[in-house]
Amino acid sequence: MLQVISLLVENKPGALMRITGVLSARGYNIESLTVARTLDPTLSRMTIVVDVDPTLRRQVIKQMNRLINVLQASDLTEERAVAREMVLLRVRAPLESRTAILKEAEIFSARVVDSSVEGFVLEASGDPEKLDEFIDVMRAYGEIEVTRSGIVAVSLESRRLRLSPPVPTGRAEREESAPRLSDVAS
């Protein structure tokens, strides 16, 4: 079953490798992965779609949360969340089918981003299943080339982000003031 994981991570070299490492160590294949900076340029937001054994889902999320570069990993699979994807699609369009293609594109709210005698490049975004349909329809017009962005998702519920406060450097100082976060029942 496909699982959607949303992560807030430190924008540091190696962070991506650590996160995908949790999945590759178990031999899971990543369906899609998107990553980009957040408003705070030191952080990135990542959305991963992956086929994970349902019994191991909690475990995988916990392992991601354990990573030092990960501020928060959450499972959006069964949460109220919005998922969107974008596709760029090149379609060969001889003169006789150009009007039909444009009509079809309009139905899916796709935009023409490039037009030439050979054909169009169309841009569509929205629900991933809707995009599947769009791609299927376009296939009927001949040879197409598709680039999908992968899913970006956002939870509809805001969740509290718990960040660790700074601690003093040096062993002796630390032992004095080790952070004592209390636990929420897991």
């Binding site: 030092i68 718990r162 660790s164 700074p166 450097t169 952070p179 636990d183 029942a185």
Partner: protein
Amino acid sequence: MPNLMSGARMLVECLVREGVDCIFGYPGGVTLPVYDVLYDHPIRHVLIRHEENAAFAASGYARSTGRVGVCCATSGPGATNLVTGLVDALMDSVPVVAITGQVSTKAIGSDAFQEADTFGITRSCTKHNYLVKNLKDLPAVVHEAFYIASTGRPGPVLIDLPKDVLQGQAHYNPVSAIHLPGYKLVTEGHTGQIRRAAQMIWESERPLVYAGGGIVSSGAHEELRELVELVDAPAVLTLMGLGCLPGDHPNFISMPGMHGSYAANMSMTHADLLIALGVRFDDRVTGRLSAFAPHARVIHVDIDPVEIGKNRAADLPIVGDAKRVLPKLLRLLRDTASERERKAEARRAWWRQIRAWQQEHPLQPVFSDHEIKPQHLMVEIDRLTRGEAIITADVGQHQMWAAQFIRFKRPRQWLCSGGLGAMGFGVPAAIGAQFAWPDKLVIAVVGDGGFQMSVPELATIAANRLPVKIIICNNGYLGMVRQWQNLFYNNRLCAVAMEGFPDVEKLGAAYGIPGRIVERPEHLTGALEEALREPGPYLLDVRVSPEENVYPMVPAGAALNEMVLGPPRPVPVPK
């Protein structure tokens, strides 16, 4: 400016601030700047003979003290040789900081001489790792590394330092704070959950404390002892937890699991409550998971939330540091101590049952008049060290016999590669422990296979006149592999006979270390006494019976109560 210094000096300054007094390492081209600083620096550098052993020695230092062990290796082969030691530290949650050199930042990725992608290779071998590309980041990284290695669930952290970073000059501004917003430390334990734990403990009729390495890491052994005594619960300690209760404590049953005692495994199977403290329900403990502790509800206390529910669902999870959680639990239990009477009759019956199991099939050492039984060796080591020595082991039969028969008074006395099960761990770990505890008796109990992986370190022992005693439980085989071939592969012994074992008297002499071979059971005690009396190092080759198997044994895939208690009895041939 007075504080203008090289990256290498900055590194050493930061190590000093972290209280490092000893580094186990091996130099090379790109770490030369570090060694130039160490040339006249009071930090002690121990020149080990192989980088893998540098990591094991750092682990031995860390396991025996609870402080961070430090190892250092050069780029390329130096770094790749560290890998086994890093994974060992990761599996057993040992605080180790590894420092590796790297080729210059401009050469990274160009297949330069002695280049390896250490940052990539060690990503999955460490709790966290760093590649420092800017000298200005160095001080913060070093302090973060020590903080990450030693807090929460401890583990190894590697810092990869390119040569130009080590050689570069910059102003050193000591870092005053570490900021790791994503490093989630949960230590206290949920108060409501702890209250429920106290209730569950008083409600249970057949409670069993199942404690392990987390108690050692958190230093909660006193609290553990108090809990066991207050509740009067029987307790089993995992391989990693041995010593958390004194070996002769009346409530301590033994180690459970694949080579645990009958009583320990039967207790696990029949308990109605497991009080699991700093354990991870390892497959070597649980046997077939679906049949493990079928009647028990589980209270699981661990500092690492990943462990909770990983192998066995917890009825009552408590994420926290045992050292913080147990005092709260104890307070609640003391306040409600009158509850103890509620199940008193059932508890007495539970104890009677456990005592009966213990008598029915005790962990019985085997003796013989004509050959030294390996169990006999361990019993003698136990008798002569009286639970006071630090004992390291490799992996295999000797490790299991040592765990069964050598008793420890305190935690951090029994050091072995538990999770990874790395051969060649015992001798270098003993070196690390002996540097940490120069005046204590440190014994490496190793097999003849593992010993041969550690031979180069005899030079380290000789050069430093370390009084490490190496006792080789020599059966001429890779014993545990032979045991499995014997039991599960029709005794088709393949690639397990360790022919060509060196003469330890001559081998020792080559290093200036006294060595002796002992073959007769009646000479064993004298030989051990001589070894332990020796003020310096000693090499004792104990020729034990070659075909002894470790029992009890839970075969792979079997349930704990499906133990094989001993070898099949010989059937007399009818005349």
